[in-house]
Point group: C2
Chain length 317, copies 2
């Protein structure tokens, strides 16, 4: 008996759509959806998005777990997670979309769009506002994986003065790399616009807090600092962000992600004049592309090859 069936385990991800797409991409593998009846011994692979904890624990022939979207934090919250490799999805389409959103929001702050929106509402023609050029504005990207590196490269090409911070040192042309805890404060001190594209792990939970925000550059030409978070809501402490905005030590924020999603109606973020709220759709995944990506990985494994983009359990990304 072949143990190559796929179990789709992610109630919030419209499992029937994934069943169809995975079946089309991988005609030889039966696809089952969590909740229906199937032979547990047949399951070789799980494709998950916030699967119910414990729901993968009794699959005797499970060989690998795939995330159906960006990030694997939702996989590791399961205390009964089986000890098989977990693979990230790497989708150029998702990366591009995330960069579109990131560049848009960096430019919204850099070019003071809220000011011009207000002027337009007031029918006010005033053109002589102080406006530094991109080269005089320092963008700092926290998290220099696939997403962070792509955003950094494109912001650099637009002319911004870009640096990145990551656990290990990176080498990207024209982009200064800060690495590790020892260089974090220096990175923050030269950052006018902080872009957060890092994984959410126990080590990064709540990292965007009062202490971090207080270390961002205060002397920038743009009159910042500004925060742009398209990573995960669990990275940020919203009370601290609001306090910094109200104190004026943070000049603006764009948030695609929140501690609680959907963002509760009583959150002051909705109406804060310095905040852009977007409904966690900076990068909608291309489900077809992800299905094909997972199919190619399974084919490679079944042919005796190696799983790619395996996540470190220690690091959580």
């Amino acid at each position: 008996m072949k143990h190559n069936a796929i179990l789709v385990a992610g109630p919030s991800m419209r499992p029937e759509g994934w069943r169809k797409r995975l079946a089309a991409a991988l005609p030889d593998s039966p696809v089952h959806v969590l909740g229906e009846s199937f032979d547990k011994a047949s399951i070789g692979y799980a494709a998950t998005w916030w699967h119910p904890p414990g729901s993968l624990s009794d699959l005797p022939n499970l060989k690998a777990i795939f995330s159906l979207g960006a990030g694997v934090d939702h996989v590791f919250v399961d205390p009964q997670l089986p000890a098989v490799p977990v693979a990230r999805v790497v989708d150029p389409d998702l990366t591009q979309r995330m960069t579109e959103w990131t560049v848009l929001h960096v430019l919204l702050h850099h070019r003071q769009q809220r000011l011009y929106d207000r002027q337009q509402q007031d029918k006010l023609w005033q053109e002589d506002h102080e406006q530094p050029a991109a080269k005089d504005v320092r963008v700092g990207v926290m998290g220099m994986g696939e997403l962070g590196a792509d955003a950094a490269e494109k912001l650099k090409f637009l002319g911004f003065d870009v640096a990145g911070w990551s656990t290990t040192r990176k080498s990207l042309p024209g982009i200064r790399s800060f690495a590790g805890a020892g260089e974090r404060d220096a990175f923050l001190a030269r950052t006018d616009i902080l872009v957060v594209l890092m994984p959410h792990t126990p080590a990064t939970h709540g990292i965007i807090n009062a202490e971090l925000l207080s270390k961002l550059a205060k002397n920038g030409r743009l009159g910042g600092p500004f925060l742009v978070n398209a990573g995960r809501g669990g990275l940020q402490v919203e009370a601290d962000i609001l306090a910094a905005l109200d104190a004026g030590t943070l000049k603006g924020a764009s948030l695609d992600v929140f501690e609680t999603e959907p963002l509760p109606a009583d959150s002051p973020l909705w109406t804060h004049p310095k905040v852009y709220v977007s409904p966690h759709n900076a990068a909608i995944s291309d489900h077809d592309a992800i299905s094909v990506f997972i199919a190619r990985q399974i084919e490679r494994l079944e042919a005796g090859g190696k799983l790619e983009h395996v996540v470190s359990r220690d690091k959580g990304y």
Copy 2:
């Protein structure tokens, strides 16, 4: 006697500032401002921005006219313009700023920011809007000079499907070039977002009119078309733009320039829900950089060299 004095002729451009900057950049050349008393025979160069027509006609030793900002349309409106070379300003800083604004406004339409602004005002969390990727959105840049080519290149790098239209064919990697009147309709038919960065000349006056707008793509993934004009107000027929917006054949517009500036308070563009108005400051010139640029040109000429970036009087750019 040396004929190397500079006449600053541009009342709206704060002439005293230009006098100081040009004098600092070119210590050997006296600098005069139109309206004060000076020896007309001493003037070798004019640095102008909307100079009063006729005000340069009686300078017997004038050798060249420099524009103090992007575009030379303001020079050629003078029917008594002396028959000396007119030079454009080429300033990398101005080009970069223009591209920042252009990329911001292309992304504002592409990523449907007005929709998300409204959702935020309504505290509405809705994430499942149709959103094509940049690669499936066709940007068309009209005018592929310094400014158009730079914007096209950066939009291409962000992932958009970019083409350019210009009088002569251009060769830029990955950017399809349409040239001349014969290829204009084909260019418009494949354009979801039209970016206008062309010179304002008698031939291009009012070119953005009902006929042109009706030829833009109607079948795009983004549900466009959209218009982004950072060129000159004289290129556009605002009544036609408003009619197309109200008819729904144009889905949105970003305008930094207008037929009359400042934009009159009674213009419906101010309050139109599909329009971004900005007060002709997409690219504020760096006056120091322009002064140095003009100084280097004068030094080259005085040393027997050749004037660069000379405008064609026939074409007007």
